[in-house]
């Protein structure tokens, strides 16, 4: 067994353990809070958000590196991160809505963070569409790298422009006034660690799958 394989199994095990601990903490360790409903979604919602942004940041950086170096490795990293990022982004919108329904009375409102998340989702779905519409690997990589850069640069401006409406998201309350109980904070941190590891597990798996696909394609081309 080579070292890369051992590391991957190790990371997978770590992720599994972290998820088990996170589940225990979220559902059994954290005390009940009376005035918040569906509050346990929070422990999944925040880590999912974080993972989506982490994924998009990876896309941004590896898109720049790809355009500079033209090494397909970076394109594989970027696309894998987009695929995972869109999944986390979708989960972000879904878990956020589940939380919002009992607490705000609606599934959705056009609050800055929600709107930014939705715009991001649209941008990166567009990224995947363009890849599908491109002819040839090299072109797909080049065009989507441009979208990966432009899309990420847009995030702060979208957020700023939507921020000047009402502010209803509980983020400010949780992180700025220190309104989070120590047990809750601990559970959140473990959950954050678990989701971060999950992102890397998925990312590594997806990249190696892409590499295998490329190798297979090369073999098939050489036998023709």
């Amino acid at each position: 067994m080579n070292r890369g394989y051992v590391l991957r199994i190790g990371l997978l095990l770590l992720t599994a353990i972290l998820f088990a601990v996170a589940l225990y903490m979220v559902f059994l360790y954290v005390p009940n809070i009376k005035d918040l409903r569906a509050d346990r979604v929070f422990y999944f919602h925040v880590p999912v958000d974080w993972s989506a942004f982490l994924a998009y940041f990876v896309v941004f950086v590896s898109s720049i590196v790809y355009l500079r170096t033209r090494d397909t490795k970076w394109d594989m990293i970027a696309t894998s991160a987009v695929e995972i990022g869109v999944v986390f982004n979708t989960l972000m919108l879904v878990t956020g809505s589940i939380w919002a329904r009992p607490n705000w009375g609606t599934w959705w409102n056009w609050e800055p963070r929600l709107t930014t998340a939705l715009v991001l989702w649209l941008v990166y779905v567009g990224y995947l569409l363009v890849r599908g519409y491109s002819s040839g690997r090299e072109q797909a990589a080049r065009l989507s790298a441009v979208i990966g850069i432009v899309g990420f640069v847009d995030v702060p401006i979208v957020f700023l422009s939507t921020k000047w409406w009402q502010l209803q998201h509980p983020g400010a309350l949780v992180f700025e006034t220190g309104g989070l109980d120590p047990t809750m904070l601990a559970a959140l941190m473990v959950s954050l660690a678990a989701f971060t590891c999950l992102f890397f597990v998925l990312q590594i798996q997806r990249v190696s799958l892409k590499r295998a696909e490329a190798e297979l394609q090369m073999l098939m081309d050489s036998t023709e």
């Binding site: 355009l67 709107t115 715009v119 649209l122 941008v123 567009g126 569409l129 363009v130 519409y133 491109s134 002819s135 072109q139 080049r142 065009l143 790298a145 441009v146 979208i147 850069i149 432009v150 899309g151 640069v153 847009d154 401006i157 979208v158 700023l160 422009s161 939507t162 000047w164």
Partner: protein, 223 residues
């Protein structure tokens, strides 16, 4: 030739083609008026309704007609192998970007200059204020800065004109939000201080995307 002379040559080429054929501006203009008419049926024309949705209608019209004319900017180049000629020309890709962008800017401005009075007549609004002119100019710069990049990107894909709106519209969300808000203020006699607050966002968007698009444009049309 200096950089700006090359840019001017491309912009002039686009302007001249447009002057001869009058294809894009007329078609887009008819489209823009149609959008206004359709919105008129969708939302009604009571003065309360107009006050509420007027600025929104205006910017949806500009954004949609922008997509239409920006698409044309590079599809026309594609038709007779012009794009290859453009790339073989002894000039940097950046000059091509700025030239094409200015060309689109001019044709969008022409459409907007004609659409605004039509909008004013149909909805009985006073649109002739310096505030609205500044907002329109700045937002249009944002539109063409991103739109030129994505138009060149879209024309290279198999789906062509389907790609541009899908990429363009989410990215320009900040411009649309700010332009709608600022125009709303301008139409109801808001102060410059309030309008400038929104103009700051458009200005930031323009600056960032002019630079970013300028830097990455070369990667889009290389082949």
């Amino acid at each position: 030739m200096t950089f700006w002379k090359k840019v001017a040559a491309i912009t002039w080429k686009d302007a001249l083609t447009e002057l001869r054929t009058k294809e894009v501006v007329f078609t887009v203009l008819v489209f823009a008026i149609l959008v206004i008419v359709i919105f008129n049926f969708a939302f009604g024309t009571t003065s309360e309704a107009v006050a509420l949705v007027g600025p929104g209608i205006l910017w949806v019209t500009f954004a949609f007609s922008g997509v239409l004319s920006l698409n044309r900017a590079f599809i026309a180049e594609r038709e007779a192998g012009c794009l290859e000629g453009l790339m073989a020309a002894p000039m940097s890709r950046e000059a091509v970007y700025v030239g094409k962008m200015l060309g689109s800017f001019i044709s969008m401005l022409v459409v907007e200059i004609v659409t605004l009075p039509v909008f004013a007549v149909f909805f009985n609004l006073d649109v002739f204020s310096l505030q609205l002119v500044v907002i329109t100019l700045m937002a249009t710069i944002g539109f063409v800065a991103v739109g030129t990049l994505f138009s060149a990107l879209a024309v290279n894909t198999r789906a062509r004109e389907m790609v541009l709106p899908i990429l363009f519209l989410p990215i320009v969300v900040p411009v649309i939000i700010s332009a709608v808000k600022a125009s709303g203020l301008a139409l109801t006699g808001g102060s410059w201080a309030d309008v400038v607050q929104w103009l700051q966002i458009i200005l930031a968007f323009d600056a960032i995307f002019l630079v970013v698009s300028f830097l990455v444009f070369g990667y889009v049309i290389e082949e």
